[in-house]
């Protein structure tokens, strides 16, 4: 793994730096506003009641009442501080600015767009652009660029880090591809796909809450990063089934299967074939929040090819991720969408199996304004790296514990300690995130 160079604080300040996030957290917790009731005092006048920032306030006199003419906008932002115990690579990183827009287009049609601005270049990327047709709860047809449905996490949180309880994503769907910063970058699965999908609530089993999702995709601009670099895929088909019983409102149990065909590398006749399977149990009631998810991938590589570049050289072309949470490419691409570094990668023939599992538990403390939510997560990842010329898998254990404080309904401060076993490193992450 190649760690990126980071700007370190002056030597005089280094002993103080690790204490900064802790002090800031404690000061935040001690702020009396968090314990006070935000609700206004009882008032007989409805007009005197202040509008708290949750949903946009509407007036019955507003002309934009019809669903076909309403555009909703939202955004997420985050700022991160990462402090390793050895103080090598202390980072203050601006995460992403994520803007999403939604609109009814009439007759069951709607559109959704998710756009991100990423530091340091602040280029605008289209993460999702979707046209939906939903005539009923039982059927929705979606066309466009979407997030891969192979994991529950990727489907639910996308680039909205404020939505997730923790500051960082699990490694299996990390944006930190290739291993930068203190994260091993074990992203196993595709983040996006371009294609079509159908989804809905099976009408004859609606009492059981059985939901389906299936689709096909082509020309993906990213794929699994089982060997540390992005591999574009030519074709993907997937199917999900999930149970959301109405009598247990926060429970979701699901299984998923993906079949992915990568573009062939230069001088290859066939690209790699990958079968991805996964399962998840998510109970998101806040008391408790429990998420357990596992995936397995099997790559079948038919041919071998010599690479003029080493793995270290290819991964070094990836952009730095200051927070360890955001990374979404940055390669120069060819007309097929294949990155130049990918085209020179070696892939010895054979089958490669990788797998990952995480279990996360959290509990929102039922006191005061219920702002405090401690959490913990354990991750297990095993990877076979074709480029390493060995079939011995790499194994990582990552243990995390932290606290989320919802300063308001739309601002969260997360502080977490993470231990990476592969590098014997402990990192303290602090993240301030917001939803607009």
């Amino acid at each position: 793994m190649q760690l990126r160079p980071h700007a370190n604080p002056p030597l005089l300040w280094r002993p103080v730096v690790p204490l900064m996030p802790l002090c800031a957290t404690l000061l935040t917790l001690a702020h009396p506003a968090l314990a006070q009731d935000e609700a206004p005092a009882a008032s007989t006048s409805e007009a005197a009641r202040p509008a708290l920032p949750d949903f946009p306030i509407e007036s019955p006199a507003t002309p934009l009442l019809t669903p076909s003419s309403r555009l909703d906008l939202g955004a997420f932002t985050d700022i991160n501080l990462n402090v390793p115990t050895d103080l090598e690579g202390v980072n203050v990183g601006i995460g992403q600015v994520v803007v999403h827009a939604r609109a009814h287009l009439g007759s069951g049609f709607s559109t959704f767009g998710e756009f991100t601005l990423n530091s340091p270049s602040w280029d605008v990327r289209v993460e999702r652009l979707i046209f939906d047709w939903e005539p009923s709860d039982a059927f929705k047809l979606s066309v466009g660029r979407m997030h891969s449905p192979v994991t529950w996490w990727n489907q639910n949180f996308h680039h909205g880090v404020w939505l997730q309880t923790t500051a960082t994503r699990p490694q299996m769907i990390s944006f930190n591809r290739g291993g930068t910063g203190h994260s091993p970058g074990a992203a196993l699965l595709e983040s996006h796909f371009k294609g079509a999908r159908i989804s809905g609530l099976l009408p004859f089993l609606d009492r059981a809450g059985l939901r389906y999702l299936a689709g096909v995709a082509s020309g993906g601009d990213d794929s699994g990063v089982r060997d540390g670099v992005t591999v574009p895929y030519a074709f993907m088909t997937f199917a999900n089934l999930a149970l959301e019983p109405p009598d247990v409102p926060f429970l979701r149990v699901g299984i998923t299967g993906n079949y992915v065909v990568d573009y062939p590398l230069p001088n290859q006749k066939k690209g790699a074939r990958t079968l991805e399977t996964g399962a998840h149990i998510a109970y998101t009631s806040d008391r408790p929040e429990l998420i357990v998810e596992g995936v397995m991938t099997t790559d079948h590589v038919a041919e071998s090819k010599r690479s003029p570049l080493s793995n270290e050289q290819t991964t070094s072309s990836l952009p730095t991720d200051m927070s360890g949470t955001h990374m979404s490419g940055g390669h120069e691409t060819t007309s097929t969408g294949m990155s130049t570094s990918t085209m020179q990668r070696a892939v010895p023939a054979g089958s490669y199996q990788s797998g990952a599992l995480y279990a996360q538990v959290a509990w929102r403390i039922a006191r005061g304004k219920e702002r405090f939510k401690p959490y913990a997560r354990y991750e297990y990842t095993t990877l076979q790296h074709p480029d390493h010329g060995s079939k011995d898998p790499e194994v990582w254990h990552i243990v995390m514990a932290g606290l989320r404080v919802d300063l308001t309904n739309r601002i969260a401060l997360k502080t977490e300690g993470v231990r990476y076993t592969d590098t014997d490193t402990n990192v303290l992450n602090m993240q301030l995130s917001a939803a607009w």
């Binding site: 939202g74 709607s110 109405p246």
Partner: protein
């Protein structure tokens, strides 16, 4: 010693978690009072009603359906018309009914849930918030497919009301008729 210090960071985060509960508490939420501190309606006299736009072809609704609507899991009426959930702003008694009694969430969690639902694509738009029961009645009357809960005295004659199917086990049984 060095190792002890290095492992101390994870421990420090855990200590933050453990210390967060007691010191900033101001008591558990009282389900018999709304967010403004007013007492919940008398158990014998349900004081709130479910109102819908007159085009909604229903006369009765179940608690499970109300919950599915509050969570955005049911987004269409049987007729195919999209459902528009109308809520009063945070701090009102009817908002507390939707959030705590029907959706079974805390106010923070409810907002969090709906921001996620729209961002995930499970719903195109979130609930429509209004200030005051009079505005809620007017918006439900103006918006096809809309549904809301208002105090009985605020519901006007021209507006359509739904009867909630009796469910003695539900806390709504004594609140909403």
């Amino acid at each position: 010693m060095v190792r002890l210090v290095r492992h101390g960071w994870a421990l420090a985060a855990l200590l933050c978690c453990a210390s967060s509960g007691a010191a900033w508490a101001d008591g558990d939420a009282d389900p018999t009072r709304d967010a403004s501190g007013a007492e919940a309606p008398d158990a014998e006299t349900p004081a709130y009603v479910v109102i819908v736009h007159p085009t909604v072809e229903r006369e009765q609704i179940t608690v499970d359906e109300l919950r599915a609507i509050a969570l955005g899991r049911q987004r269409y009426w049987k007729s195919g018309a999209p459902i528009q959930l109308v809520l009063e702003v945070q701090g009102s008694a009817t908002r507390a009914i939707w959030v705590e009694s029907i959706a079974r969430m805390s106010p923070v969690q409810f907002v969090h849930y709906w921001i996620g639902a729209t961002f995930q694509g499970r719903a195109v738009t979130g609930p429509r918030a209004v200030q005051g029961s009079r505005s809620a009645v007017q918006l439900v009357a103006a918006l096809p497919g809309a549904i809301g809960i208002v105090p009985a005295e605020a519901a006007e004659e021209a507006l359509k009301q739904l009867t909630v199917s009796p469910d003695p086990s539900s806390p709504l049984h004594s609140i909403v008729r």
